[in-house]
């Protein structure tokens, strides 16, 4: 089996698994006042400190959540609500056109149910936001904007966004910027404080931690209305019993991946470059999508003209090669990706795309397996597209 879908989820690291099992054997609610509770709380707080330390944040800025989707929703909705409560005229949400659905759909929901105005920042053909377009938007709407959200790196095509520059522009206008850094942690250097973002989403299972635990890094001076009400466990911004074992494993994974980021990026980046070169040699008309240079080290995203991505996926899957078409609806139908459409691709090119993502367990054997299966799969997928042409 060649697992080339690490951006969807990546195997747990030994460090994370060990931390999880050790913590899961112990009893204790971190909110309890007795010794068992205090032990659990200590583990949570140590985890918070470990995460903060490697990501350039203060421990108090780490708010544990159930993962990326919750963190994105909390940031976009919570900051929007808090800012609008302060001034009714602040009803505009700004986000890039290539955000993950957790940001995009949260913003759309605010538009539909909370009367928010939405502004989408365009991207160029590499999927990159131009900071000048944010500056322009701020000139027009500075007094109306409640929150800005731009991802650190794109989950489909891997393009790294100029987040620091965008955050600087936002900060000058006094507007909080949230960044979804789910795909970036452990892949590229990420420093919350240095960036100047007001909030940042991270999650466990993209860095070798467990699914179901993540965090929102939220600047101490950033007001945010909670999504979940209850015990107020996390700075009164997030309620719910803390998942001690999950948090401990999450911290172990974040710490391990961030500390080894440079070495990882070199090794996986080289392997990815080899994959790209070999795919191009095997399928000369394949188009590499995303920024050719400023991209995540593990990401290779192609359009294969004349193919449908889901046909290729089926054929590669049958050969034990696991990859992704990008966005899928919950019933499993591949829709043309909004990311590629925003980059100016037409429907056919968007539908013909396939994402290969490498990770910490990837080896040359995975690339070999892909290249053994790909030429035949492309040929068959092209034949399968031909039936669509009227006879």
């Amino acid at each position: 089996m060649a697992y080339l879908d690490h951006a969807a989820t990546t195997p747990m690291l030994d460090e994370a698994l060990a931390a999880y099992v050790a913590a899961a054997r112990e009893v204790g609610n971190p909110s309890s006042l007795h010794a068992a509770g205090r032990r659990a709380r200590r583990l949570v707080e140590e985890s918070r400190e470990r995460i903060a330390a490697v990501l350039g944040a203060r421990p108090s800025e780490v708010i544990f959540t159930s993962g990326g989707t919750e963190s994105d929703n909390l940031a976009v909705k919570g900051i929007f609500w808090a800012r609008r409560a302060g001034s009714l005229s602040r009803g505009r949400v700004v986000a890039s056109a290539v955000e993950h659905h957790a940001v995009m759909d949260a913003a759309e929901w605010l538009g539909t149910h909370e009367g928010a105005q939405l502004s989408w920042l365009p991207v160029d053909d590499a999927g990159r936001v131009d900071p000048a377009s944010l500056a322009e938007l701020l000139t027009a709407y500075a007094d109306e904007i409640a929150v800005i959200s731009v991802q650190w790196a794109n989950n489909e095509v891997g393009t790294v966004q100029p987040v620091a520059e965008l955050a600087r522009i936002a900060a000058q206008a006094g507007i909080p910027l949230h960044t979804d850094a789910v795909q970036a942690i452990g892949q590229v250097p990420v420093d919350f404080a240095a960036t100047g973002a007001a909030a940042m989403t991270i999650t466990g299972h993209k860095v070798g931690g467990p699914v179901g635990v993540g965090a929102l890094l939220l600047g101490r001076d950033v007001n945010c209305v909670p999504l979940l009400h209850g015990g107020g466990q996390e700075r009164d911004v997030r309620s719910g019993t803390l998942d001690t074992a999950g948090v401990a494993a999450f911290a172990a994974a974040v710490e391990t991946t961030v500390k080894s980021q440079a070495e990882y990026a070199r090794r996986v980046g080289d392997l990815r470059d080899e994959l790209v070169a070999r795919v191009r040699a095997a399928v000369p008309d394949a188009i590499l999508n995303g920024d050719p240079v400023d991209r995540l080290p593990g990401n290779a995203h192609f359009s294969f003209p004349g193919c449908e991505g889901d046909a290729l996926l089926l054929l590669l899957d049958a050969q034990g090669v696991h990859c992704s078409t990008g966005s899928a609806c919950s019933a499993g139908v591949a829709q043309p990706s909004h990311v590629l459409i925003a980059m100016g691709a037409d429907d056919d090119r968007a539908r013909s795309s396939l994402r290969f993502t490498l990770g910490h367990t990837s080896t040359r054997a995975d690339v070999d397996a892909l290249l053994a299966a790909l030429p035949g799969a492309v040929e068959r997928a092209r034949r399968a597209t031909a039936w669509k042409t009227p006879r």
């Binding site: 089926l314 919950s330 139908v333 829709q335 997928a381 399968a384």
Partner: protein, 360 residues
């Protein structure tokens, strides 16, 4: 794999037979402009989930194929156009012809598969003949008879030798959760079952006359001829009662004049059926056989002649409610299950001079 019990058991049997089987669920609903909003009602989620679970239990890969565009163009739009043209279409038949055994089959073959397996209740044995299922009540050979030889050569129907009850029992034995799932009856793309409302929304009002078939007298008005089917009695809403006080039936629909013609029950009787778009598997005609004129309809002995792609059936006894657009399927009686000889789309049902004379 629709998410129903039949296709689940068919897949399981094909898998047991040693084939390399892949489960495919067809997403057929079109949902434009909603993809980005998160309101992703683009597929029948529950059916898709049921199909996926069945594939898990059987142990085969599973994918959803988006056939919404093809389904819309070839089945839904065709359904509406047929009604607009005064005919009564059978969308399930069209779906077999154009989607399951054309769009899906062609794609599958291109991807390297050999055949499409479905949970239809019909027999297709080594002799290549399409026969009725052993379960008369569930037999679906009528909606499969439209398949050409080359389509049948790539079709596998593993359920033809079993009754529906046996299929359900087997599903339960195999641990398939869909064992007790109710049968689907309605047209799948009309979610609320209101065909008239669906056509009304698509075609709008098109008022015209309702006339007496014998006198030509105008008896009333209708809001759209698509609201009427040959043989229909209810809902005519005629102010003027028939002279003899007997009920009146829809005899025919004439799109050119947008007229619905009605008359007494005996005027519905026809003994000659002409049909087009013929698919013929049997020996050269004329042939003495049985014909079926609608899904789950009665079977009538007839002499069938096929000439230049047109089919004519002279019925041994008159039939009623023969609607243009439905299929006429010819069967040859057989102890091993009646054999499909061919199928064609009904153009008209007419009364021969003899029958007309007897009526008068």
């Amino acid at each position: 794999m629709s998410g129903g019990v039949d296709s689940a058991v068919a897949a399981a049997r094909a898998h047991d037979a040693g084939h390399d089987v892949t489960g495919v669920h067809l997403a057929l609903a079109r949902n434009p402009q909603t993809y980005r909003t998160g309101a992703r009602g683009c597929c029948t989620l529950e059916d898709s989930r049921d199909a996926r679970r069945a594939a898990d239990v059987i142990g085969i890969p599973f994918y959803v194929w988006d056939m919404a565009e093809q389904f819309h163009a070839n089945v839904v739009d065709d359904f509406v156009a047929e009604y607009a043209a005064g005919r009564t279409p059978n969308p399930c038949l069209r779906c077999n012809e154009k989607i399951k055994f054309e769009a899906v089959l062609d794609r599958a073959v291109a991807l390297g598969f050999d055949a499409v397996v479905t949970g239809h209740h019909a027999r297709l044995g080594d002799d290549g003949l399409l026969r009725r299922s052993v379960d008369d009540g569930k037999d679906q050979s009528y909606v499969l008879a439209v398949l050409t030889r080359s389509q049948l050569d790539r079709a596998v129907f593993p359920l033809g030798d079993s009754t529906k009850a046996q299929v359900r029992e087997e599903a339960a034995r195999r641990g398939l959760a869909v064992a007790d799932k109710p049968d689907s009856h309605d047209i799948c793309f009309i979610a609320d079952g209101d065909t008239q409302g669906f056509l009304q929304r698509r075609l709008g009002d098109a008022p015209g006359d309702i006339v007496d078939g014998r006198t030509g007298e105008r008896l009333g008005r209708h809001n759209g001829a698509y609201g009427y089917t040959v043989g229909q009695r209810k809902g005519l809403d005629l102010r003027v009662p028939a002279a003899d006080g007997r009920p009146r039936y829809v005899l025919s629909i004439t799109p050119v004049t947008n007229t619905v013609t009605v008359g007494p029950r005996e005027d519905l009787e026809v003994d000659t059926v002409t049909a087009e778009r013929t698919i013929w598997h049997g020996a050269p005609t004329p042939v003495e056989c049985d014909v079926q004129l609608r899904a789950h309809g009665e079977v009538v002995p007839a002499v069938v002649t096929v000439e230049d792609g047109a089919l004519t059936a002279r019925l041994r006894s008159p039939a009623r409610g023969v609607a243009a657009g439905q299929a006429i399927v010819a069967y040859q009686r057989s102890a091993d299950g009646d054999i499909v000889l061919g199928s064609a789309t009904i153009a008209a049902g007419v009364a021969s001079e003899t029958l007309a004379a007897a009526r008068a």
